[in-house]
Symmetry: C2
Amino acid sequence: MEPKETAALVERLRAGDVRALARAITLVENEADEAAALLSACFPHTGGSLRVGITGSPGAGKSTLVDRLAGRWRADGRTVGVIAVDPSSPFTGGALLGDRIRFQDRQGDAGFYARSMATRGSLGGLAQATADVALLIEASGKDALLIETVGVGQDEVEIARLADVTLVVLAPGMGDDVQSLKAGVMEIADIYVVNKADRDGADRVEREIRAMQSLAQNSGPAGGAGAPWTPPAVRTVATTGEGVDRLAETIARMQAWMSEENRLAKRRARHWQRRLDSMLRTELMRCARRHGVAEDELARHAARIAASEEDPWSVASALAKKVLEEK
Amino acid sequence: MEPKETAALVERLRAGDVRALARAITLVENEADEAAALLSACFPHTGGSLRVGITGSPGAGKSTLVDRLAGRWRADGRTVGVIAVDPSSPFTGGALLGDRIRFQDRQGDAGFYARSMATRGSLGGLAQATADVALLIEASGKDALLIETVGVGQDEVEIARLADVTLVVLAPGMGDDVQSLKAGVMEIADIYVVNKADRDGADRVEREIRAMQSLAQNSGPAGGAGAPWTPPAVRTVATTGEGVDRLAETIARMQAWMSEENRLAKRRARHWQRRLDSMLRTELMRCARRHGVAEDELARHAARIAASEEDPWSVASALAKKVLEEK
């Protein structure tokens, strides 16, 4: 793609052209040559959206909750983007319904865009790909972005770190007792959502969250100077919409708190520091490929290593030296 | 640690000293400075073990099957190592029982070693950490290595690629119909295990595997010249041990097939090529840190990016240039 075409694509994307957005996402997902130029051109038009991460155990009702929140914000006149991330799909075949089926009743709504992601590219992790897609959707002019993850693993923790506000969704009787949620979740939760709150056991779930908090004596992930943020627990029944207004208010309250004392800027800077580390790694590898370490050279070494004729650590070190000296 | 100490640790590890092995694993998991030297010193003493990967949906009975296979091989006089990988543990709190509880009846058996892994380090993924630990256990003189993964996501697919032979474990009535297993699992399965075969539905699971195979017209992951390998389905009841002998024979048959026509060497070379790519990336980043791109410089840029004052793609590219020119 010519630089002129990239610029035109970004312009169409920014004007709200859904097909341009979809095309840009595909280019970025496929790690096309123009991906960096596209992202770079979109970057100045980002930073204004609220990014909300939603994670928690499977079956807690995250998807329904995302749909409800999106509906609530659309009713307020805010534009909404949704990214549904499902790292487990190579095996499970996608627990998520396709975007078209799931968000069927929003078809034709120009203020709404949803996209599923499952694959991770070769150059970065799923978290990085999700961050890139989030940036494109943000540049397309969405006021709020909901980033939903299906699973509960390390990938999800990393994806949650992209968000300004992270919801951890729990439900009674899921067999995922709060006590079994370890440090990983304590670290990332800004707001706990006790969904399916009309079921028995909602009290117990909330009590356990409180107990865990007092045990950890944790004043929230973005704590520090000023009034600390203690992650509140909000009860919802996503299927009926009960509690969703309160949840939206709690998110707005967190957003207001984040805007004080530079907290949002600090959190986003932490995100970008991790991102930059990973981007630099990728960039160095690209340079390595340009300067002497072609795929077939790696293949030759790999065969010798597999035959125990070479030691991989010595090879990696020698190749790195070669790249750094040649250029 | 002095180079002399590293050499002494490797010597003790090779002599079968369990504490030396555990210490080496901890050093590698913590990405200690001496990790590369340790792995490099162990490398010449690896390559002789059979590496068996075990994956599949949670609840299919993988752990019990691993215990049975380990017992079967120990009874034959073969030494056995086990790595149990649980990427989901930051949230679930570890579905795996601790090594000591799970393998209690093998305590004091010098021919057996088991280790759980959950964390991924900062410099590489969980798959890389697992590969490193596998190498250390192999160097400690184990004839066979069982690498068990708990989940069913992308991490597991990558870990399965470390193995010479990969078992995909299914069970009737798990709600994980074979049809829902997508390309990811077709790619990595060398042997299907239909566990809990005494339950209703085992026939159906096996029929579905066959149907999927004929649909894919896939002659196995390592196919090519010579007799192709069609992944067989073996029925087991891990809790009673039924079928485990047959499974061990099937693994031996696959191992024999892999030893023909250079198949094992080719598969291991593919593994090392991916590995080398990732190691080179890490090595380049290490050089970057030595030459001008300190953590605080990344932090400064990150803050400017978060404030939309800089563009991350331009920063990454400029930093890469700086590293490559300075050294």
